[in-house]
């Protein structure tokens, strides 16, 4: 597996643009089309914003992002040292509810789950380690 980028920045909204930009250029480098790159950006943003808003509970902390590529897929590993939080344990929101009624919380995690091909979470060494994976799908053979 080839590491394309590895960066650590403060867990602040001001870091978002740079982190997303890096992930985006790595995904483009991985050969994904523009739509898929935006889906990957979105899933990454949702994971990062979640950490920025909730992981450190008003204390300072960092986010570590690593992008890597092998022949099967593109992997984004996001690490924080905040409170334990497993995104996979969050239930899906009610997307059928009326706009005036619906509670929009949980939508970001829902989108992230829908858009990535695989998501893994583990807690190790006092850190949350979230892995987002987009498979590199072979082109469909022409008919």
């Amino acid at each position: 597996m080839k590491v394309l980028t590895h960066i650590t920045l403060p867990a602040q909204l001001a870091s978002l643009e740079r982190l997303i930009g890096l992930v985006s250029s790595c995904a483009s480098h991985g050969g994904f089309n523009q739509t898929r790159v935006k889906e990957i950006e979105l899933a990454t943003e949702e994971a990062l914003v979640n950490i920025i808003k909730y992981a450190y509970q008003d204390k300072d902390g960092d986010i570590e992002v690593t992008c890597s590529l092998d022949k099967e897929g593109f992997t984004i590993t996001i690490v924080d040292s905040g409170i334990p939080f497993n995104v996979l344990s969050v239930g899906d929101p009610d997307i059928s509810a009326d706009v005036s009624e619906r509670n929009i919380g949980g939508l970001g995690i829902f989108l992230m789950k829908k858009l990535m091909d695989d998501i893994q979470y583990r807690r190790a060494g006092g850190k949350n380690i979230l892995t987002l994976i987009a498979w590199i799908k072979p082109e469909k053979p022409a008919l």
Partner: protein, 111 residues
């Protein structure tokens, strides 16, 4: 993200260009809340130039739609395409909002 407004009949057409993400969506929300406070009632939001949206963008559309309705106004969205359309569909926003193929068609629905 850039926001432009233009009065058409009894509606305000709001054109959004660029990205609606966690850093820019609050600007959209702030701008629309200001417009509502200034007395604007009916809104057509033109997303033809929108390149990217995350849940923060969806949240700000949701919050402002509620504020428009609470003020007795109407909202219609126009030109939701490509990846933006996909995100709307996945999140259920595609069914809870008036979505139109053009600003003209949106204006005819709520004007």
């Amino acid at each position: 993200m850039k926001i432009q407004t233009m009065k058409e009949r009894n509606c305000l057409v709001v054109t959004v260009v660029g990205r609606m993400d966690a850093t820019t969506a609050p600007n959209y929300e702030k701008k629309l809340i200001e417009l509502i406070a200034e007395g604007e009632k009916n809104f057509v939001i033109d997303f033809n130039g929108l390149e990217y949206i995350s849940s923060s963008g969806l949240r700000s559309i949701h919050v402002t739609a509620k504020a428009i309705k609470a003020a007795g106004g109407k909202i219609a969205l126009a030109n939701i395409r490509n990846v933006i359309k996909e995100i709307f569909d996945i999140s259920g926003f595609g069914t809870i909002f008036q979505i139109n193929d053009s600003v003209e068609s949106a204006l005819s629905k709520i004007g």
